[in-house]
């Protein structure tokens, strides 16, 4: 086997340099600063500071509220990831079968992708308005007295709903292209072998979609953990109150709203470790069972 390579050593280095510089300036440097300031309690203006060792971390570990927020984030992430993937898969499978007007269907389904998270949150705010929101009215007609911003469970439901709505189109695009890349011969062979559409889906289509699904799983977990920030912020109207919140939003609340630099740095370090661990687990365990074609 012929190995392609560079003849000189400095050329690859040089080509890598711009990218490395970007990563160092925008990731490693701030990350190192966050780790450093997580060991201090510092006056936000930068006049006084006290080295407190691991105090900021033990404070988090002992906080029942932080544990509550972590539990909520876990449930929120599972729900958002599951429903975004499941709904998108269902829509993609159905859209794949549509022949007439396929393009208009697909365009309509992808449309929401272009909506920015705060805008999605704002639309949610209108839909769930306490006195005249259409979705509030709908819930009421089922006997559910839905009150956004008052009842924590209702607010959580709205957060999940808006986050799922916002993410389904992304997953839909990937699933649809995944479906369309399954060779026609394989589908036809399956059609001859088995009459049940459901069996054909689980035995043939689903495994062939697994690489796409795995990629989307990572993307969706990251989305639910981090990118829903704008939705959460808009739906709670900037007032945490008794509303549920995610870990990322808590970093913002303590760091940007409350100017507790040490505490929020410790929280972001916790999140960094969490993401690292998550990525390792996903690639080590989940990817082993997936066969790329």
């Amino acid at each position: 086997m012929k190995r392609a390579g560079f003849t000189t050593r400095w050329l690859p280095m040089l080509l890598l340099l711009p990218q490395l510089a970007v990563i160092i300036v925008f990731f490693y440097w701030p990350a190192a600063q966050a780790v450093q300031s997580s060991f201090y309690l510092e006056d936000p203006f930068g006049f006084g500071s006290t080295f407190v060792g691991l105090d900021n971390y033990t404070y988090l570990a002992q906080s029942t509220e932080y544990a509550k927020i972590a539990r909520f984030t876990l449930v929120f992430t599972i729900l958002v990831t599951f429903f975004s993937l499941a709904l998108a898969l269902l829509l993609a499978v159905k859209a794949d079968k549509v022949i007439r007007g396929a393009k208009s269907y697909r365009t309509l389904l992808m449309w929401v992708y272009a909506v920015a998270p705060p805008v999605a949150g704002f639309i949610g705010l209108l839909m769930f308005n306490q006195s005249w929101g259409p979705l509030t009215e709908l819930a009421k007609s089922f006997g559910w007295d839905f009150t956004l911003g008052v009842n924590a469970t209702d607010t959580a439901a709205a957060m999940v709903l808006v986050s799922v709505w916002k993410q389904v189109p992304v997953n839909f695009i990937f699933f649809l292209s995944g479906l369309q890349s399954i060779p026609k011969s394989v589908r036809e062979a399956a059609l001859i072998d088995c009459a049940s559409a459901i069996r054909r889906f689980w035995d043939v289509t689903f495994p062939l979609l697994a690489p796409t699904g795995f990629f989307l799983l990572i993307i969706n977990i990251t989305y639910a953990l981090f990118d829903t920030f704008g939705i959460v912020d808009t739906l709670v109207k900037g007032e945490p109150g008794n509303n549920p919140m995610t870990l990322v939003y808590k970093v913002y609340v303590d760091g940007f709203r409350g100017n507790d630099l040490g505490g929020s740095s410790a929280q972001s370090v916790v999140l960094m470790v969490l993401v690292l661990a998550l990525t390792v687990v996903q690639f080590r365990l989940v990817e082993r069972r997936i066969h790329y074609t």
Binding site: P44, F45, G46, S49, E65, V150, P240, D260
Partner: protein, 434 residues
């Protein structure tokens, strides 16, 4: 020919500007919407009143965002000359000695005759240090007041309650029978904790309500008096006298504007907004009720809102410009204009006298409520409070109060949690101050 004249004129103007060498200063604030327009009007008025200085205001988002932007800019050496900081951020900005020039020092060193007695009693000491030196210039000062729907109270056959005892035994049942929600409110920590302490003459924190320093300051909220207030409110909610629409300000004000609510607790600064709307009823305002069982001598309230701080690290010429701006801002005419347009209280007695002489309160009696309430009897508990990480402490209060009113927790558990978490935050804040 005409073109040439215009060109010459433009060139002359440019030259004129450089010749005057205006000192330019910046002002970062958190006043959006109609308030922002009035802020711009003040800046414009100042720029037109003289030709030595020019101030440029910039809207930086919410109060929290404005403070954070100011801090980030300070650390980068790019701070504005004037920064607006809100009540809950007072401990942060005043604690960072060296971040600001105390406004009293600034004025005095620039030859302005400063006398704190010129200011209305309730606004004097909130943004002052332990010795009573004014650090931040009170700007948009407001106090919580009780607004009421005049027709609703008439229909129920009651007058505005003076005490909470009267509210729960007379006013609220009558309003409920007349088909109204008796009361809503828009800010539980500010109105029902901070100003509860002041109105009912209760200490809010150790160390002289926190003014004597961050070290060892402990919050004093887990008291039978304050718990009784919230136990009563939970009970009123059960009985249909009180409704809570979440932590957001507007969600609780809207039902009042829709005429569904008899009494709404808001800010004296809400007056401007309410009177500009076409409400389906007449409204008026009066003092916050007090508990007769707690005190028979109710006191004044203190200001909320925000103050303007002169940031340090600026040249003498710029500080002089800032001084000139503060002088302009505190002049009776400007204060009266601000008061009239927004409903925020005028901060000086002279401005208040001007508003009175102009007949403002004959036309709008409710506009005077805030000032009158801020000028009631004072005590050692009415200056305000100085607690660090207070934004988070308010967040903790809002969270627990929300849980009380949604039945997720009991009053006792809520106050235990507030006390514990607040004291942890205060201890953490004290460590940032070394």
């Amino acid at each position: 020919m005409k073109k040439l004249t215009l060109g010459t004129a433009a060139a002359l103007t440019l030259m004129a500007n450089t010749a005057f060498a205006e000192t330019e200063i910046t002002w970062w604030h958190g006043m959006g919407g109609a308030l922002g327009d009035t802020v711009n009007e003040i800046a414009k008025g100042f720029n037109e009143s003289q030709d030595e200085y020019k101030i440029t205001p910039a809207f930086k988002g919410t109060y929290e965002e404005t403070l954070t932007a100011g801090i980030a800019a300070f650390r980068a050496g790019e701070q504005p000359n004037v920064l607006q900081v809100f009540d809950a951020g007072a401990a942060t900005v005043i604690g960072a000695k060296g971040a600001t020039v105390p406004v009293q020092d600034l004025l005095e060193s620039n030859g302005v005759d400063f006398n704190i007695e010129d200011y209305i009693s309730g606004v004097r000491y909130f943004f002052a240090d332990a010795d009573g030196k004014m650090i931040g210039m009170p700007f948009n000062s407001s106090s919580p007041v009780m607004y009421y729907n005049v027709q609703a109270l008439e229909k129920a056959g009651v007058t505005p309650p003076k005490t909470w005892e009267e509210f729960q035994s007379v006013t609220a049942p009558a309003l409920k029978d007349a088909g109204y929600i008796a009361m809503t409110q828009s800010h539980l920590p500010w109105i029902f904790v901070e100003n509860f302490m002041s109105r009912n003459d209760q200490p809010f924190a150790t160390n002289n309500n926190g003014y004597d320093g961050a070290d060892g300051t402990k919050i004093l909220v887990n008291t039978p008096e304050l718990k009784a207030q919230f136990t009563a409110m939970a009970d009123w909610k059960e009985k249909g006298y009180f409704e809570w629409f979440g932590t957001g300000w507007g969600d609780n004000q809207t039902p009042f504007e829709q005429g569904k609510v008899g009494i709404w607790f808001g800010s004296s600064g809400s007056f401007g907004g309410l009177s500009k709307q076409d409400l389906p009823f007449d409204f008026s305002a009066t003092y916050l009720p007090y508990w007769e069982s707690v005190t028979t001598e109710p006191k004044q309230t203190f200001i909320g809102g925000a103050a303007l701080f002169a940031m340090s690290g600026k040249s003498d010429a710029e500080n002089k410009a800032t001084t000139a701006f503060f002088e302009y801002l505190t002049s009776p005419e400007v204060q009266y204009m601000w008061h009239r347009e927004t409903g925020y209280v005028p901060i000086t007695t002279a401005a208040y006298e001007l508003a009175k002489a102009d007949g403002h309160y004959d036309r709008f009696p409710a506009a005077e409520t805030g000032i009158l309430q801020l000028s009631l009897d004072a005590s050692e508990n009415t200056a305000g409070y100085r607690m660090g990480f207070y934004v988070q402490i308010r967040d903790v209060m809002n969270r627990e109060f929300g849980r009380i009113f949604t039945g997720e927790t009991s009053v006792d558990d809520a106050f235990n949690a507030i006390e514990k978490e607040s004291n942890e935050l205060l201890a953490r804040f004290a460590k940032t101050q070394n």
